[in-house]
Subunit: 384 residues, 4 copies
């Protein structure tokens, strides 16, 4: 059985032992290196054996007028989808000519949602009342585990003979999934130990209700992590020059080329917001699996001033941070610095940049489909 067990540990020699172990088992020699030290990977990955090198590009300049992001930004991307970078660059160019993209940061909330299970449905009400009365103590427990997390409130959802408590935190510059797990766990322990009205109730730290790594209507409705709204007023003249389309054609075309969303049962209303998010997340050390919970942005277009195109986007969930997790990696950190996303409010700034770039990519992509340049562009940029 021990033949099944990979050697553990975060030291350089542990990594070497694992590489040797794999080589013994499979004959494969793994040798990609990086400037990041194995020791620095604690908290990010276990069983480390090497590195993946993904190509990085830069797009921009993004011109943005946001609640936190202001000015011009050169945005690092990492992607394996040919055409993506050049398309986003086109969208950013188009919006830059037209005066840039405006974003507003609405809120930042991260939650963990344990479930408490009782023997009988009538045990839920007294429990909820107790939680309400003891909020300050619960908050104190939760916040004892973190310097930056603040418990904003506990939302309560009765369900069958159980109650889901949605612990909603502000998490500072961190995306905060880990922070809220640990804080909520402490709070739940307190509840478990102090709610004396009831014997034998159980809780699980997770009820899948918070939408972590899942596409959830709840996140679309109530938000998860950063909730950002964006817009761009694209001048008709530049729309014609850059995308070869009029505002009227754009609005009509987009209506048609997203018609399938409703029939296919797609959550949100956009074409490929996921692409923009993935590329920026990879370049800035984000947990890219979160794109699953973030991809449901809603985009809409209208004609303004006869021939200008007014594009708006609502992204109720952008799960990014500028500290913790993969943001510690050297290139990620460098890229965050390139974006000026360090220090106070930097995660909000990053979320605004993500939102703006998503809008730019959609603008360009929509144009490509409407003018029938999409397949040609992919034949050109998506093949060797």
């Amino acid at each position: 059985m021990s033949g099944l067990l990979l050697p553990r540990g975060y030291k350089k020699e542990d990594t070497e032992k694992r590489k040797k172990w794999i080589e013994d088992k499979t004959g494969f020699h793994l040798n990609e290196t990086s400037s990041d030290n194995p020791e620095d990977l604690r908290g990010i990955i276990e069983n480390h054996v090497g590195f993946i090198h993904l190509p990085m590009a830069v797009t921009g300049p993004l011109l943005i007028d946001g609640s936190f992001a202001q000015g011009e930004y050169y945005v690092p991307l990492s992607t394996l989808e040919g055409t993506l970078t050049i398309s986003m660059t086109r969208g950013l160019f188009l919006t830059h000519l037209s005066g840039g993209i405006k974003t507003r940061h609405i809120k930042q909330e991260m939650s963990r949602s344990p479930i408490f299970i009782f023997n009988d449905i009538d045990r839920c009400k007294p429990f909820l009342e107790w939680v309400t009365s003891n909020f300050e103590k619960i908050k104190c427990e939760a916040e004892s585990t973190t310097k930056h997390g603040k418990l904003l409130r506990i939302d309560k959802y009765p369900s069958q003979n159980s109650v889901i408590l949605d612990f909603v935190f502000s998490t500072g510059e961190a995306a905060g999934q880990n922070m809220v797990t640990i804080a909520t766990h402490k709070a739940c322990d307190y509840i478990k130990n102090n709610y004396s009205c009831e014997k034998g109730f159980k809780y699980y730290i997770e009820s899948n209700f918070n939408g972590d790594k899942n596409p959830a209507y709840k996140s679309l409705l109530l938000g998860r992590c950063h909730y950002v709204v964006g817009s761009a007023l694209v001048k008709g003249e530049y729309l014609e020059r850059v995308l070869h389309v009029s505002a009227k054609e754009y609005v009509e075309g987009w209506t048609q080329c997203t018609r399938g969303s409703q029939e296919a049962g797609i959550y949100g209303m956009n074409m490929h917001v996921a692409n923009a998010l993935t590329a920026i997340y990879l370049a800035t050390g984000q947990d890219v699996a979160s794109v699953v919970e973030n991809a449901g942005g809603i985009i809409s277009y209208e004609v303004r001033n006869s021939n200008d195109l007014y594009a708006t986007i609502t992204m109720p969930s952008i799960t990014v941070g500028t500290v913790g997790g993969g943001t510690r990696l050297k290139q990620a950190r460098k890229n965050l610095e390139l974006l000026g996303c360090t220090g106070e409010n930097s995660s909000k700034k990053l979320a605004e940049i993500v939102c703006a770039c998503a809008l730019a990519l959609e603008l360009s992509l929509g144009g490509a489909i409407i003018t029938d340049e999409f397949a040609t562009a992919h034949a050109k940029y998506g093949r060797k």
Copy 2:
């Protein structure tokens, strides 16, 4: 305006020009390197300036009895989420002890779904009849653009005064998004030029109906790319030893700790399948934005033989390939070789490995939540 335009090109000197350009604009010097040549990145990325280095781990051995994947596999992962690798390793260990994971590959289909718009709803029927009668010619046109893609059928969805045609292809070892775009475009051009019964109809190559980079109930129902089913019969004794839980506790616990899925409006039924997919996709050169369309797997558990746990998973959409796109990168290729995923049926094999690893990770994660080790594990492995 020219100040806005990044230098283009795929040559080494083009990359250098861009790095210089960024340095001039921002003062930042980008210097991460890789063994991949900029010239080799054509078709994967534009505006190349450098590389992202993501840490890579190995997990396993996965013991699998699949339609295509057979035997033991050491699976490369790339992730920034601490605990993920060790948790998947635990799940693979558990299933290995119990005789491994069984998978069955159901089908592999990739589609592109253009929309054809008519002036009047009664123009749809003759059009659909014409498409049916001319299927062989349309197929011939579509397949003229690709060596490996085969047009299996055209599914027809009337909608308002338009019709969505879902061009369904088999795409060999490629995930095939690009292949079906180009092939469908050729087919649409043929239709446009030869359907003479009607003047002035329009088409767009994309209606958002195919669920590309979106979570779609259509994909859950009809599949997208690989459709794989998996199972594991975990012996009670190992379940206790490795996860510290009985089969009965597991089934009851899992029911509770996924209760929030329905209330939150989550598509599919799993905890964090997205995590497993993301980690393997990154390590094997897949387009990781596709995880958005793939994350809706359905998992279920039942008690068997008094105290064994029977776990099953249905993944109707796993968008992976073993040729094209990012699989050309050196480390990705090496990792595909490590998995034996080269040559005929290798993409099916890879999809089965992905499915099995997703099941293993879920098994372990479920255990951690049910036994309340989840927060502790994340405190241990998810922090620096």
Copy 3:
């Protein structure tokens, strides 16, 4: 315990016994009568004690150019929502002035979807192959239970260690839920008794997959019962006169006043199609609980010819019939005759009338909201 049991039976004296029984228990005397005989209620209701009288209205004339419905129709409605009838009448008047509503009947399919459960995931494939090879025999069994039902095909959905078979029937003039249950049950018995490759597999006649009495994306995508598309080209002049709005204002307004659909996670895209369906279903003896599965129609609007409004509707699921069930009731039958919905293709005709009336109601309602007459109208017509 016998004190708990209501007297049974379909005779007049059984009804009287029950009325007496209720009177004894509660002191209540039930005395509403009807021209329908208790004996005629067999197959529709058990425990009969009396009648509900719902007010009936007539709207119209609907001018329609359908695949089956042609000409002018006076449509009976039964509703308790003040404003509904007058609003639908307004919509019908508006479309009549403009040349009427066009509908096209796309298909009519009703399914029942049993689930077959195996001990192991690899038992699914041979089972599916057997079902395919034995289709003709299975069809023969299924059709032996019905004069009008025809088994069109069996769609196959593998899921975990089970397989859902969607038995798709054409059901003639009946909505057909009952017909397909009985026919599918016979077919399943045949399968159970003749599929000898496997011992110990189980089946349940229902897997909830067919979307019976549930809102299902499957029904939106693949249809359930009648699938109908409709349109109206409303002349700008009449739009102004009847709805006091221009086509441009209408399109813009409608976009805004349905914006919440996406955020709220609403299936389909319409305002209150459910209202039109409910009113006609009640008046024509339909099972009004089916409105739940039918309410997801998709409506869209565009400006044509500068100031005309082109309205289109796709209703993939309209569960109506003209024989069987409540259509046997005297007033229902009379109302079906008023609509000319008897005899061959009458259920298709009825479905087209339903679709057209739904469009008319939406047109009028949209106008009321856009011009801010909605609340005023409800204050006027929705209060005593």
Copy 4:
């Protein structure tokens, strides 16, 4: 054109004129009568011409221990689906033997959700602040239109360059859709006239966000009208005797026979809750089109005490009232009296009865499917 216009009015002679008009146009004579006077139908229906007579049954006794409903109830139903009444009676009998059904009323909230549209995304924030500061005045305006409605809060959802305000009311004994429309309209007028920071913004009274007559994840999550939870502990002995199934078989069977819900993309988790709701709504004068928004209840089962079945149901949306609308009709009123649903808290009581009956029907239906009696029962009770 006047030939298109039906005569209007609520008087007996108006009804007669319309009947004459229809007779002239179509040759049809409409002659069903009722004890309700045409004059009494004002606010319920326009264009009145007659009555629909639907058969009514009684089921029960329901034994219930609710927050408001206590004791035994004989429940009036109106349905056209054979088997429904007898099946619900079976479920009520089963739960009565086992000690009855417990329900808890969680909350009652009805909302209307207008959308306010601005020229620019940055106009949303000051607007929301103004709404918050002026809540008391807005509340005062809203409540000036109603004796029973109270504005509890205004939930705020920024979306694109607009804001959806969800006006959440308690509505006393009324379901309250009409009440909240008129109250919200008054409030919006106040906002429109007094929010002076901004010129040229628009609002629509409806954004489709409140889920009125639509299946909405929002309603599942946040509730709409009555939010009720219910449970029953069914003794194993009675389960065997009445449903011919053990608790273990029930739980396993139900898991399988609802498996299709996830794949089909069904909202909520139940079989046919819609049937129970429709039958009670019809019998008690409710707006039966609301079943569309109410059908997403979540049901679950577990084995307790070795062989008892613990059934729970969460119904976050039950749109019923005991005053206003169709509850004024004579038979509806009589049926409400039969249920003791008059006076204070009667709408909450009715909602609990609805929830309990839905659970009873599901219990019985589940049993029928699991024991394979479903098709046989429908062959017996669903045919003439």
